[in-house]
Amino acid sequence: MSAIFSARDLCVSINGKQILRDVDFDLERGKILGLVGESGSGKSMSALSAMQLLPEGASQSGELSFEGKNLTRASDPEMTHIRGKDISMVFQEPMTALNPIRTIGDQVAEGLRWHLRISRKEAWEQTIDVLERVGLGPEYGLMDRFPHQLSGGQRQRVVIAIAIACQPKVLIADEPTTALDVTVQAQILTLLKDIVKKEQMAMLLISHDLAVVAEMADTVAIMKDGVIVEDGPTGELFDNLSHPYSQKLFEASNHVPVPRQEPVDERAQPLLKVSNVLRQYPLSRASIFTRRQWHRAVQHVSFSVAPRQSLGLVGESGCGKSTLARTILGLTPPDGGSIQFLGKDPFAVSRNDRRDLQLGMQAVFQDPYGSFDPRHTVERTVSEPLHLMRSDLSREQRRKRVHEVLESVGLASADANKYPHEFSGGQRQRIAIARALVTNPSLIVADEPVSALDVSIRAQILDLFADLRDRLGMAYLFISHDLSVVQAITDRVIVMNAGRIVEEGPTGEVFSNPKHPYTRMLVSAVPDLNEALRKRRKKENKDTQ
């Protein structure tokens, strides 16, 4: 079969900096090409260049051939006839990809009217059809709704509807499910696969997630620093990875840190005890005559963390896990129930006692850059929690302590005088961990600590967590939507859904033998690289026979 869209020797540079170098790929009808790479590898730029939507200051050479035209030479007016009609794109962030002040129907119909020059009424009817094709039938009544009234999954379906409205020949999807929950991700991936099959589109799927690509793509290209280092049919390629970078990427995706050496004494006096905690928010009233309704974000949750234990808390967005984390960290008091840390209730003790409790519990958040003041040096950032120790430490002692923890997380003591922007994402997360370690806590609450990191860096940070656990006897409360992360690093796991704990148990047991239907759904929705490859090989063998 011949390619409908192909890139040859595609080079792109932005303000003189080369982003893509000699990129070649082919897209075929009814087939999916997966483009994998870490952040900054140039995969998104490949997508934008296929759409000819490169940012200002970009220059390109090489060829992007589509139906006998070289798109790198096409003018913008020419491209307006191709974009959205023949080549369409699905974006990563469904939250911001839709115009907040225009209705769903209006936004889907717009492309139809623009390209097909049809009447408002015809476009409206076709829009209803398109929404039905992405699983948003008229029963949802979305035509007159606005984006903020939809769920994340529905929004992404609308973005897909906009892309496929004019039945394009080529569909480009840039991380189409990265911002979504696993169960929603599974639905969207199935939808995309079905559309490609049914409508015989050629698809370029861009992702950082090898498992997603292995599940979806017929052929895969691995990109690093703007160069495709390796490509081929999915099963075959993953079986014979020859480039060191692809091998490293593959290993990192499967990475599991060293398991715990000494067993945890679960009968010991618990470090943290959460009993019957309730958190609720008032909802805005429908009118002044009805009673105020409350949204129960966390409903009667109880669990405990033993010393040196690593507890995972998993659940999808909106399940109440971050609300619970804020209460555990002492940021918001519970509306019911109690928290006991080191045998004391942080909301009931005196100010000084609360400080001591705070010394024992520290936090690591998802976005390290956002949690640093860019004008503070690393030393100042890391030593900040030491203020809790009042004046027990001299300046010199503080500096020494900062250097100690920096070394303990794998940074140099010389890094103390630098500023956050001088570090990479992974190093910044190390700084965040150092800041948590500086008070010598016994428990670290980590809220999505590796979600923003690339796979290879994620593996390193997970190793660091495991190392600190063994070396310092640290206990963790690991909050994540990513089951594979929780599986890799925790002893016990709690599964939350709609503010309640639905299942709890030793991590291995819960994941291998989930009992609650919600846990089962969650576990089965997680893309599994090895499982996907096994299926892929089977299929490829069948095709060749």
Binding site: M51, L53, D76, P77, M79, T80, H81, I82, R83, G84, K85, S88, M89, F91, E93, T96, A97, L98, N99, P100, I101, R102, E110, G111, W114, H115, F146, H148, V159, I162, A163, S284, S287
Partner: protein
């Protein structure tokens, strides 16, 4: 949407009430009663007593406040001390000048600012953008009375095509009245337009970096279509905010401009009221201006909700 408007309306009435209280307290309850202030230092005790009785100052404070508020609801704003005519008559006469002046300059400044801001944003970073924004900067820096003097010099003294001041009255000559208002409207509008144009430009530049603009481009929309269909309306929200805030400056501007052009408007009435210590005129016209400003804020709030559906739920 209707519920939203209703809640805003309640808010508006509360604000009006609070404003009336402040005005009343400031003008009447503070040291020296209105009768003393009006008659000056050398007033005779019996004239003072007579004026107090005439003004109803002998009644308790609360009664006076309530009767003032109730009177205004019935269109009774009291009787001007210096003009000896009902204040309502004065105001209805003067507002025929001030309202077209304020509304005209508001409309003119918007009509100038939005296209200029959009044009400048489209040519962001080019020489034409820099040029327009420098001119706008000058427009902000220069006070409106100076622009007024310049306009009078050019159009009334050198070119002799427009009157330099005065107002014939709508019943005498509609065309003449319009001509008389033209220069004041322009003088008031230009500084406002400069601010608005800059806000429009920067708001639009912000919006153009949003993801949904990229989505619109990916649909195949041309640059221009994307800008008008997805950019401008979204950028209007900050512009509206400034527009609402500017209205009170516009009112303050009319006081100066009406004096400069000898226009018998509300601003001039207040100015004269203050210089002649006619506190009844001042009180009622200030209240009227406050009401106008609050009403404009209300309109801006409604316009927000009309533009942005996300604001409709909250109130």
């Amino acid at each position: 949407m209707l519920w939203f408007a209703f809640l805003r309306l309640i808010g508006l009435l509360t604000t009006l009430l609070a404003a009336s209280l402040v005005i009343f307290v400031v003008l009447e309850v503070l040291p020296g009663d209105p009768a003393e202030v009006m008659l000056g230092l050398n007033a005779q005790p019996d004239t003072l007593a007579a004026l107090r009785a005439e003004l109803g100052l002998n009644a308790p404070v609360t009664t006076r406040y309530v009767s003032w508020i109730l009177g205004m609801f019935q269109g009774d704003f009291g009787i001007s001390y210096t003009y000896s005519v009902p204040v309502s008559e004065l105001i209805s006469e003067r507002i025929q000048v001030s309202l077209p002046l304020a509304a005209g300059s508001l409309i003119l400044s918007t009509l100038i600012a939005i296209p200029v801001g959009v044009y400048s944003a489209r040519h962001h970073g080019k020489i034409i953008d820099t040029g327009i924004m420098s001119v706008a900067q000058i427009g902000i820096a220069v006070p409106n009375f100076w622009i007024a003097i310049l306009l009078v010099y050019v159009f009334a003294i050198v070119l002799r095509i427009l009157p330099s001041g005065g107002f014939p009255g709508w019943d005498v000559s509609v065309l003449g009245s319009l001509q008389a208002l033209l220069l004041p409207v322009v003088a008031l509008a230009l500084p406002q337009a400069s601010i608005l144009a800059r806000v429009m430009r920067s708001a639009l530049l912000d919006v153009l970096h949003e993801d949904y603009i990229r989505t619109a481009r990916a649909k195949g929309l041309s640059n221009k279509a994307t800008l008008w269909r997805h950019g401008v309306r979204n950028a209007l929200i900050p512009v509206l905010t400034i527009l609402g805030l500017q209205f009170s400056f516009l009112i303050a501007g009319t006081v100066i401009i009406e004096n400069l052009f000898y226009l018998p408007g509300l601003g001039r009435l207040i100015f004269q009221g203050i210089t002649q210590r006619d506190l009844i005129v001042v009180r009622s016209s200030v209240m009227l201006l406050v009401a106008l400003t609050i009403f404009v804020t209300f309109l801006v709030d409604i316009a927000y909700a009309a533009i942005d559906p996300r604001l409709r739920r909250r109130a």
